[in-house]
């Protein structure tokens, strides 16, 4: 499916990759996400924007069931990826996370070599038949992460020794190496300087040819630059969802307009 011809696709023509209906999330007694319905398209960058604490990261973490690792967190409702309910009892969250990759706010390379950082996912999922195969996967992932040229001569140096921007691209490459179908990014540029941010944004734009990318961001400019669809969250509600251009120029909801123009947030 990744070999689809590289023609420019119109976003509206894409298939629905993730469908969420009536999603509720509770942290203990706190109702963090209320009644969220959203359809996220394949081969599209979807941005989640909203003020801090509005639940956009929480919702993102529902899509790969990362919230399962938090004891007090409870998810209700229905999230389907390719028509399959990911909260079904038969679904193994571990398998799901291999299919739905995630990149975190702060670059978190493992204290291993660059090579081992990338090879980690493929190894635990048995994606490589032999060493040569693994080398190929690592190189491919690093190329997709747009960091191959910078690290190809020091693959066995520790990943923690890279600069912040390089580390984040390494983490993206690491997520890509397991051949996910969806890539979730939780404020991937918030710890990076503008140059590294530009590199990562460029990378996101390339990644959408193969993946459905969902990105949480606090930067409206970033959302406008990289995404085709934007969802605005406020106080646990999904307030507005639509074409990025429309959300930023002609929002329907007054709350969206206030946030975008800087009156709330």
């Amino acid at each position: 499916m990744y070999d689809a011809p590289n023609t420019e696709l119109h976003v509206t023509q894409n298939d629905i990759k993730i469908a969420a209906r009536k999603v509720q999330v509770y942290y203990g007694d706190t109702h963090a996400i209320k009644d969220v319905d959203v359809d996220i398209e394949d081969k599209t960058v979807t941005a989640f924007i909203g003020p801090s604490g509005c639940g956009k990261s929480t919702f993102l973490r529902c899509i790969n069931r990362m919230n399962d690792t938090i004891d007090i967190c409870r998810v209700e409702g229905d999230i389907q990826i390719d028509g399959e309910d990911i909260y079904d009892k038969r679904v193994d969250p571990v398998q799901l996370r291999a299919k739905v990759g995630m990149v975190f706010q702060k670059p978190n390379p493992f204290p291993k070599s660059i090579y081992d950082n990338i090879a980690y996912g493929p190894k635990i999922h048995g994606l490589a038949k032999n060493k040569a195969d693994l080398d190929e996967i690592v190189e491919k992932a690093l190329r997709r992460g747009a960091i191959w040229d910078e690290v190809k001569d020091r693959l066995h140096a520790p990943g923690t020794g890279l600069s912040g921007g390089q580390q984040q691209r390494l983490c993206i490459a690491r997520a890509v190496a397991t051949e996910p179908e969806v890539l979730l990014m939780d404020e991937p540029c918030s710890a990076l300087d503008p140059i590294a941010t530009a590199q990562v944004e460029e990378l996101i734009d390339e990644l959408k040819q193969n993946y459905s990318v969902v990105i949480v961001t606090h930067s409206m400019q970033q959302a406008a630059r990289v995404s085709q669809k934007t969802a605005f969250f406020h106080l646990g509600h999904l307030v507005e969802y639509g074409e990025t251009g429309k959300i930023f120029t002609n929002p329907e909801d007054t709350r969206t307009e206030s946030y975008i123009t800087g009156r709330i947030g």
Binding site: T69, D71, V94, G101, F104, P109, F110, K112, Y120, I124
Partner: protein
């Protein structure tokens, strides 16, 4: 004047100084504390510090120097003829001190007048009798030179403490006046007090360091003394440990190798028990256990660390030893002769070390950033894959540090060895044989009736020094690794 009174007087002067300094500073500012450089209490503290600290320092130095000085003077005055055969100056001096204390006690009890205690010359038998009747420890008969020396000793002591009291009080008052003169609005009392606090903290830190140096020195001198009597090469490379029991030297074999071997063998068995159990317990507690289970299990595990080692020794002697004997002994596999063996001590010592390993490792595993785990889970790794491939490698240096600390604890352990491993120094590979360690032998060498100046007793110091160097090395290495690890995540 008793020391306690002097101490209280200086404290009282300091307290008065505090009140005076505070009010004088306030006065100089016309009663408005906002015009002072520092808060009023700082001026008071400044005066109190100046009244107390130099006085106490003088007192301390005086108390250290006075006995040395008196000792020198008195022992110089004792004629050589007073030192009988087989005795030395030290023995005579302690006799002098005992006599002086006896006289002090008699005067205090009202059985002897001060004048008599000072001037009695004639009837030595009578004095000896009276001292003995009063329950004072003196030898058969107080001789003339000893009595005279004891009387001089008493007089010098009394003069010395009187002089000291005077000097300390004068110095304290001088400090008070100095502090009061300074108590003006513009004086930076706060900075002075700050420097005082700093000095106090430095003093506390240096006491700890000086004590360590003192311990090492006390070992070093006796160790050097031992090597003068016994060749170092025989000590370090000798394969046999067989001190002669006569206590008069002669044909002792004091090779350290069997003891070091026993120490390491038992420690290795202990670590083989403690490291897997402790580490797995730590992983369970930090990664798998719910908050409630952890809240109950962790303190319970740490109770193990609070059990006195002698109790572990009893456990080894009464429970583990017989248990092992029933399996590996004559009725079972026939490898074991008696309950005391390397295995017995090693297993019990391992149990003792579990909380060390688990508690330290638990803290270290918890210090691995959650982002590492999230990154691994986000790639579809399971919990145990995450722990094995990400958390443990990240925590490894710290865990190694914890294990090394446990190891140095195992090497220094004594009680469990005495009760669990026996007392036979032996070079053997069989873990079911009795062996012994360096520490256990230090105890037995020093508690025997060997002459203290003989190599059989002095070897204890050489053993202690060897052990000290080994555990110090292990600790330094462990701390180095732990510190290196800390740098990794900010």
């Amino acid at each position: 004047m008793p020391l306690l009174w002097l101490f209280l007087i200086v404290l009282a002067i300091a307290a008065v100084g505090y009140v005076l300094g505070r009010s004088r500073a306030l006065q100089s500012a016309g009663g408005d504390s906002r015009d002072l450089h520092s808060l009023p209490s700082y001026y008071g503290t400044n005066v109190a510090m100046k009244a107390a600290v130099p006085a106490f320092l003088l007192m301390l130095v005086w108390l250290l120097v006075q006995p040395l000085y008196i000792n020198t003077v008195i022992s110089g005055a004792i004629p050589d003829s007073a030192i009988s055969d087989g005795a030395n100056l030290g023995l005579v001096m302690s006799e002098v001190r005992r006599t002086a204390e006896g006289l002090d006690a008699l005067v205090a009890a009202g059985e002897m007048t001060e004048a008599f205690a000072r001037s009695a010359r004639a009837d030595l038998g009578d004095i000896t009798q009276r001292l003995q009747d009063a329950g004072q420890i003196v030898t058969s008969e107080v001789t003339q030179p000893i009595l005279r020396a004891a009387q001089d000793y008493r007089v010098m002591n009394a003069t010395g403490s009187l002089l000291m009291s005077g000097a300390v009080i004068v110095l304290s008052l001088a400090g008070l006046l100095w502090g009061l003169r300074e108590s003006q609005a513009a004086f930076r009392a706060r900075n002075v007090v700050e420097a005082g606090v700093r000095a106090l903290l430095i003093a506390a830190a240096s006491i700890a360091i000086l004590t360590t140096i003192g311990i090492v020195l006390s070992l070093v001198f006796n160790t050097i003394e031992f090597f003068r009597l016994y060749p170092a090469s025989d000590f370090f490379f000798g394969l046999e440990w067989a001190p002669s029991f006569s206590g008069r030297g002669g044909s002792s074999e004091l090779g350290v190798i069997p003891l070091l071997w026993g120490t390491f063998y038992i420690s290795i068995v202990a670590l083989l028990v403690a490291v897997p159990i402790g580490l797995f317990a730590a992983i369970y507690l930090s990664e798998y256990a719910s908050r409630r289970v952890r809240g109950i299990a962790k303190p319970m595990l740490e109770v193990l660390a609070g059990i006195p080692t002698i109790v572990y020794g009893l456990f080894a002697l009464l429970t583990v030893g017989p248990l092992l004997l029933s399996v590996f002994g004559r009725e079972g596999l026939g490898w074991m002769q008696a309950g005391t063996a390397v295995m017995t001590a090693g297993i019990v010592m391992g149990i003792m070390l579990i909380p060390f390993v688990s508690s330290l490792s638990d803290d270290i595993i918890n210090a691995v950033p959650q982002a590492m785990r999230d990154g691994s889970y986000g790639l579809g790794a399971t919990k145990s894959e995450t722990i094995k491939q990400v958390v443990l490698p990240a925590a490894l240096p710290g865990i190694v540090g914890a294990i090394l600390l446990a190891a140095s604890r195992a090497i220094g352990e004594t009680m469990i060895v005495v009760l669990g491993a026996g007392a036979a120094a032996r070079l053997s590979l069989n873990p079911f044989e009795a062996m012994t360690t360096v520490t256990a032998k230090i105890v037995s060498q020093l508690t025997g009736d060997a002459d203290f100046a003989s190599p059989e007793a002095l070897v204890a110091f050489a053993l202690g020094m060897t052990l000290f160097v080994i555990t110090l090395g292990l600790n330094v290495f462990a701390l180095y690794i732990v510190r290196k690890y800390r740098e990794q995540y900010e």
